[in-house]
Structure formats: C-alpha cells, structure tokens
Amino acid sequence: MQRAPELLSPALSRFDPLPRILFFADFDGGLNGYTALIGNYEGSLDSLLPEYRDLRPPMLSNLSMWDTGSAGGLDGTYALKLATRPQAGSLAVAVKRLTWRRPGRIQFEAYFTFKPEATELQLSNTDVRAVGFGLDLQDGDRRTGARRVMPHLRYLNALGGQMVERWQFKRAPEPMHEIGTTGKTRSHFHLAPTGWEDVPDGHQQLCYNEIATKQNWHYVRFGFDLDAMAFTAFQCNDRTFDPSGIAPMMLGAMPNLWCMLNPFMWVETDLDKRAFLYVDSVLLSAE
C-alpha cells in the first residue's frame, strides 16, 4: 500500500487515517486534552443529573501489575487509563473537545485494552461490562434543520455475569431534563443502560488472555460523515461491520454547540470491582 511520507513513522504507520490528521493523541506525552466528563449544572453542583455526579476522570498509567510489574503502552511507557469505582454500573469517561471546519467525512482510530482490577486470582473475564467510543457533534449555525448528533459504539463484554461479547450502538435519545431555573440549561444522560441495539453481525470475541494482569491491545476504527450524519465505517481488529446497519443518536440542535466535535470513550463495570479501559493512542482524521 502506498503511504504518504508523513505516515511512515512508527507511531503513525499503525493507523489508516484519512488524508488530514486533526489530532494524534499519544498518551506518552500527556492526556492530550482528554478530560473528565461532567453534566450541566446551574447554581449548584446538586443540580447535576445523578448519573453525571461521579463519572471518574482519566489518568496516565504505565499498566503496572501486582504480579509482573509494568507492561507499559503499545509503544512507550504510558496510556490513558479510565477506572470506574468498585460499584456495579459505575462509569469512567474521557472527552476531548474541539470543533470541525468542513462537514465531510472524519475517522476515529484507537488502540485500546480493558481489564478488571486484579483483586481476585480468577479469570474475571465477565467483570468489565462495557467499553465504548463515541462522538458528540452538532451542525453549523447556518444549517437549516440543524442537528445535534451522537454516534455511540460500545463493546458489551458481559452483563449480569454472563459473557455477551457484542458490539452495540445507540440511537434512542434519553430524556432531556431542564437544569436549574433560568430555562437556559438542559441535560440528558446519553450513556444510560437503556436503548442499546446490536450491531448486525456484531458478535466478536476479543483476546482477553487468561488472567486479569495480561493486556492485549486492540484496534478500533469508525468513520462518520458530518454532512449526512451517518456512519461510514466500523472496524475492530480483523472484523469490519456494515455501517449501514448502525445509526447515531439524533436530537435537535442546542443553543451553543455549533460545529461541536467531541470524541469520548468510556468503561463500565458489571460488579462491585473496578473496571479499567486503557487507550494507548487515538488518531482523528478527516478527508
């Protein structure tokens, strides 16, 4: 395959980006603008929707294990780490916030791995409920019938102690709530456990690797068209999925989110044990 010269570096050549790289976040160099997610509030933090009050923040990890020491990242020493609380259903979320210039195709790629906290000398492969990747988007302010659009993809690893190992998407919006009293602030908890649908042919068994302290890095890629507001591609490791079978969450445009382009990722635990998502690097590109 012919590659552009700038993509021949070891750090970039493992990606398959569209021609223009919008950002390359290699977490050996810090969190690169990925930060904690909080819901909207007005007047008091008590006005946050309950689900938004304790989404756990990202950190930098060298993947140190109690039995084997540091594993490091896919390259270098550090990866972004999301860690839930040890409470079933707890979520940790990282988001990066930018805006787009042209309503064309974009593509998200990442190398990731997930594991439960190694508190038991057991297989523990049903302990992580899900990991996911999404975008929070909105049309430009001149567009007629402008939309806020949220493509969500999650790998439902397990639920209620049973293996699921299935990719899912979510198009059903969650209820929008008024926050505070001014009428200016609203909030919806889009990562709620309701409304998820199976990606067609989306059952995929990933390499778990036997115990809680061994991590194998996985590749994920999805493309999205900012004009049509539709998925254009979805791949994880050796599997590609038909993008026509998946759809984003669609809402009416909101007052101050024009041209928003926010990639986010998350992890959810299935039981009272911490679940970890590690991300070695993320690349967002555009046509």
Partner: protein
C-alpha cells in the same frame, strides 16, 4: 516544559467515618499536592485529618507519612508529597458526628 495535571478525584461528596479517595496513577509525576476544599461541614470540627497512602499495585496500601488537617467549611488546605512511586490516595477517618462535603484535587507535576 514540565508536564502537569490537575485531577478532581472527589467532587461534592460527603465524607463521614472512614474515607479513602479512589486510587490515582501518577508514576510520571515527581511531585504532588492534595488540596481538600470543604464546601460544607457538620458536627465537631476538631481532629479532622487525612493521610497520604501509596501503593505498588493500586490495591494494597501503606501510609506514606504525610498528613494534613481537613478544614471546616468554607475552607481549603493541602499537603505536599514527593517520591511516591506509582499510586496515590488520601484516606482517613472523621470523628463521630463529623462530616464534610468536599472537593479533592490532586495536582501533579513531572
């Protein structure tokens, strides 16, 4: 330029009795500050302290030796830590009948 990062590791939570912050990985940093901002306090205000703990694996913890006083509301206090390895947390036990609503910041620098 030195890398730095501020993590909000507790936000608007009530502490009463025994408490411990979630483990936070900081192997890249050489110095850290814990800030505790008290938004609201109830009950007796004496003897409210927290101590820094470190861990090789994020699961088994020992005292690092640094302690800090937890302020009554409204208040802000801090402690400094260096040479802490990979994981940090703040833990303690409030006296009976005392409770604090806090925001806890971990401020890291390479």
């Amino acid at each position: 330029m030195r890398q730095s990062h501020t993590a909000v590791i507790e936000r608007n939570v009530w502490w009463e009795g025994a408490f411990a912050t979630e483990p936070y990985e900081a192997a890249w940093a050489s110095e850290a500050l814990f800030f505790v901002r008290t938004l609201e306090s109830r009950g007796p205000e004496g003897g409210m302290t927290a101590r820094v703990q470190i861990s090789p694996d994020g699961m088994v913890w020992c005292d690092e030796g640094t302690r800090m006083t937890l302020p009554a509301a409204p208040g802000l206090d801090f402690c400094r830590v260096r040479h802490f390895g990979g994981w940090l947390r703040l833990c303690g036990e409030l006296p009976p009948e005392s409770s604090l609503r806090v925001i806890v910041y971990l401020v890291l620098k390479a």
